[in-house]
């Protein structure tokens, strides 16, 4: 009788651990697939193994006089004052997107100098800058 009870509890415990392990496994898998790496134009230039099929975020300043607006797309150049990256985007630009302001683009690299964005994030207001950009700017000022 007792053995039966112990057995039952053991199976229950085993099932529970398995389920929780499975759950954690799925969460981690999901995380691995869906994280977005942040790169600066210099990172892209210097990095050898870039996965072109994976979405990434790139950030920097919108270069002066680089913004071109056409009917279907918006083109501009992101710079971190060392290297540059051409961005093409069709969609709505957010608040405070303009030349010589910080910007983060989300999308896929086509090659090492051309990027197609499907989302543009910019500063939210005058005081706010994405922390990634802040670090980038700090490093370049040095």
């Amino acid at each position: 009788m007792l053995q039966k009870k112990v057995k039952k509890r053991a199976t229950l415990l085993l099932a529970l651990t398995l389920i929780s392990l499975l759950a954690i496994f799925f969460i981690l898998m999901g995380l691995n697939k869906n994280i977005l790496y942040f790169k600066s134009p210099t990172d892209i230039k210097t990095n050898e193994d870039i996965n072109f099929n994976k979405k990434i975020r790139v950030g920097g300043m919108v270069k002066k006089n680089s913004l071109v607006i056409e009917e279907k797309e918006i083109k501009f150049i992101i710079t971190d004052f060392q290297n540059e990256l051409q961005i093409s985007f069709s969609g709505t630009v957010p608040n405070l997107f303009s030349e010589e302001k910080g910007v983060v683009a989300e999308g896929k690299l086509q090659d090492k100098s051309f990027f197609i964005a499907d989302r543009i994030l910019a500063k939210h207001d005058e005081n706010y800058m994405p922390p990634e950009l802040k670090n980038l700017m700090k490093n370049n000022v040095k």
Binding site: A23, I24, F26, I27, L28, G30, L31, K33, N34, I35, L36, Y37, F38, R57, L67, I69, E70, E71, K72, I74, S90, G91, T92, V93, P94, N95, L96, F97, S98, E99, E106, L121, H124, D125, E126, N127, Y128, P130, P131, E132, N135
Partner: protein, 627 residues
């Protein structure tokens, strides 16, 4: 002058807190069965004083007393009076004062409303709560003092960020804080219960209404925040899985798990330690959320002035709380005998808790993962909505099915007698789903599954309701909340599947056509308002099938104080769908960048959440009646 007044009151509050702790400690030692009057009086005075302190700050904002740094940084004489007042809690320092108020008032109310619980438990709760109050008062006084003065006194303030000048955002923080900070009282109660060994199920009676109150307000706070994000941020969505939003969702999961397992604890006197863990976890998650948001450690799209020194203080406070909680838990932990049948209401409520914990773990991991990768590998990453969607949505299908079946299950031991009804409901849901997808021509397995399970939950809840009504034992609160949750998921699912989104770069006078719509950019006007100028576009949306016209007028606003550019979405709501249009100008060109969205059933998403909360409030009323 106001600066001195505010500081003195804050200082008085510290002394009051200390004396309450002292008197409560003295009172613990006396054999007398009652709590002495002086503690009641001190608690009442403390609550009144902190309110006076808050009104002092509000007064400073109303009269624009720029001798206070806080007022100078966040207000402006030309600001409408409503936003002068809401500016009080729209900033870091003021909002901390709001924290302290809620802590204090909840402390007093808990003391007054729990006469029939042991004296030791009540006094200890009061002591722990006052330690929390002290912690926040010190934080306010030494790090984030809203009454700091500035010399020389400036003539004009810097103004409040225009996107925060909004009625929804005026009431959003107080609502959310009642939820966040309200959870402090059952944190204190849980610690007190551990120390005083008050572990019988009557403990649940002392906290269950507090859990429900904080849960209702938390839900409302999240709702108002979502509505604000929907019309103000211009993306047309209402939930972005942004760290700030996740921070408000984490305690919500814990609260939801908590008030469900409290039902079992109250009824069957089991799960005591699990309930305690959830109580502790809820407030810890609330403070953690505050830490993540205020310290600026996370990359969020929402604006929050951040400052590392604040982060450090909250972090040490948080670590102390976690340490004490874990220490007490280990010290007091006793093995409980869970003799529950696999097929019983107990098990089903436990299943609800597992799901809540799973969601909590998912959202928590997704939120803090970037911090770890940044610290360990120096890779800067962000976790986007796809992560949450792929993990949460498939699991939600199973969750909804359990949620539908669970409430019908009996206590202790159950037999499934209504299998027939469930198959019937399931077939019905399948049929409705196929009708929807057939007529509206859209196809995706996952969205179909979500819609089926949501329909299953709605119809079984409603059938439940009818049955109970016939037996005259209708549990309004549960039926309303559960059915509305089903509706919420259903509407979100339909909204997601049948939304249309189009982006164009358009010039004045141009017309764009897609599907059965055409958009014509008619006019562009410049308008002047008291504290901003606006460029107002007028666009005509024509549905070529029905020949119905809608004029939408999105704005680009230029605010003076502080100098900010914002885009105002133009939204035409109706019961079936929202039309949503934002417009922005691009540097040095005639093109205007527009985003048009058709969002079906938007209003119903809001209404569903309101109904879920109404269910919560109804439960509080029925609880109060039966006591």
């Amino acid at each position: 002058m106001l600066s001195n007044l505010g500081n003195s009151i804050l200082f008085l509050c510290v002394i009051l807190s200390l004396s309450i702790i002292y008197f409560a400690n003295q009172n613990l030692k006396t054999p007398e069965g009652k709590i002495s009057k002086i503690i009641y009086q001190f608690s009442l005075i403390q609550s009144c004083l902190i309110l006076v302190c808050f009104f002092t700050l509000i007064a400073a904002f109303i009269v624009s007393d720029f001798s206070l740094i806080n007022v100078y940084q966040n207000s402006h004489t030309s600001k409408p009076i409503l936003y002068k007042i809401s500016g009080t809690w729209g900033n870091h320092e003021g909002s901390l004062l709001l924290w302290a108020i809620i802590l204090t008032i909840f402390s007093f109310l808990f003391l007054v409303y729990n006469n029939n619980h042991p004296k030791k438990f009540r006094l200890l709760t009061l002591i722990v709560q006052n330690i929390l109050i002290l912690g926040f008062l010190f934080f306010i006084l030494f790090n984030s003092n809203p009454f700091s003065s500035i010399v020389p006194v400036p003539n004009e303030g810097l103004g409040l960020n225009p996107i925060l000048q909004d009625p929804a955002l005026a009431i959003h923080p107080p609502l959310l804080y009642i939820g966040f900070v309200g959870s402090s009282i059952y944190f204190s109660a849980a610690i007190a219960s551990l120390i005083s060994n008050y572990s019988s199920n009557s403990f649940s009676l002392s906290i269950k209404n507090w859990v429900l109150v904080s849960w209702c307000f938390q839900s409302l706070g999240i709702l108002v925040g979502s509505i604000w994000a929907y019309y103000e941020l211009g993306w047309g969505g209402f939930w972005f899985w942004d760290p700030v939003e996740n921070a408000s969702l984490l305690p919500w999961f814990a609260m939801t798990a908590l008030f469900h397992s409290l039902i079992v604890f109250e009824r069957r006197n089991i799960f005591y330690f699990w309930v305690i863990i959830l109580c502790l976890m809820t407030f810890i998650l609330s403070v953690m959320g505050t830490f993540l948001v205020r310290s600026g450690i996370l990359n969020s799209v929402h604006t929050f002035a951040s400052d590392p020194s604040r982060g450090l203080y909250i972090l040490s406070f948080l670590s102390l709380m976690i340490f004490v909680s874990i220490f007490l838990l280990f010290k007091k932990y006793k093995r409980e005998n869970y003799n529950i049948n696999q097929n019983s209401k107990e098990t089903f409520i436990l299943i609800n808790n597992w799901f809540m914990m799973f969601y909590l773990a998912t959202v928590l991991l997704g939120t803090i993962y970037p911090i770890f990768t940044d610290a360990i590998t120096n890779n800067q990453i962000s976790v986007g909505p796809p992560f949450y969607n792929t993990i949460i949505i498939p699991i939600a299908v199973i969750f909804l099915l359990f949620m539908a079946v669970g409430p019908r299950v009996k206590w202790i031991k159950n037999k499934f007698e209504d299998l027939k009804i469930y198959t019937f409901i399931l077939i019905g849901s399948l049929l409705i789903n196929f009708l929807i997808t057939y007529f509206l021509e859209s196809y995706s397995i996952l969205s179909n599954l979500i819609i089926i399970s949501a329909l299953f939950l709605i119809s079984s809840s409603l059938i439940d309701g009818i049955k109970e009504f016939k037996k005259k034992r209708l549990d309004y609160a549960r039926i309303i909340s559960h059915a509305s949750f089903g509706f919420l998921v259903l509407f979100i699912g339909l909204n997601d599947v049948f939304s249309i989104e189009k982006d164009y770069n358009i010039k004045l006078g141009e017309t764009k056509k897609f599907e059965n719509y055409s958009i014509k950019f008619q006019t562009l006007n410049l308008k002047e308002f008291s504290n901003y100028k606006a460029v107002v576009g007028e666009l005509e949306i024509l549905n070529t099938d029905t020949n119905k016209k809608n004029i939408l007028s999105p704005e680009i606003r230029i605010y003076d104080n502080p100098q900010t550019l914002t885009y105002e979405a133009s939204i035409k709501s109706s019961f079936l769908r929202d039309y949503y249009l934002t417009m922005s100008n691009i540097d040095r060109s005639d093109y205007y960048n527009i985003k048009f969205q058709k969002k079906p059933l938007m209003i119903w998403i809001w209404i569903s959440v309101v109904m879920i909360v109404i269910g919560g409030f109804l439960r509080i009323f029925t609880n109060a009646k039966s006591n």
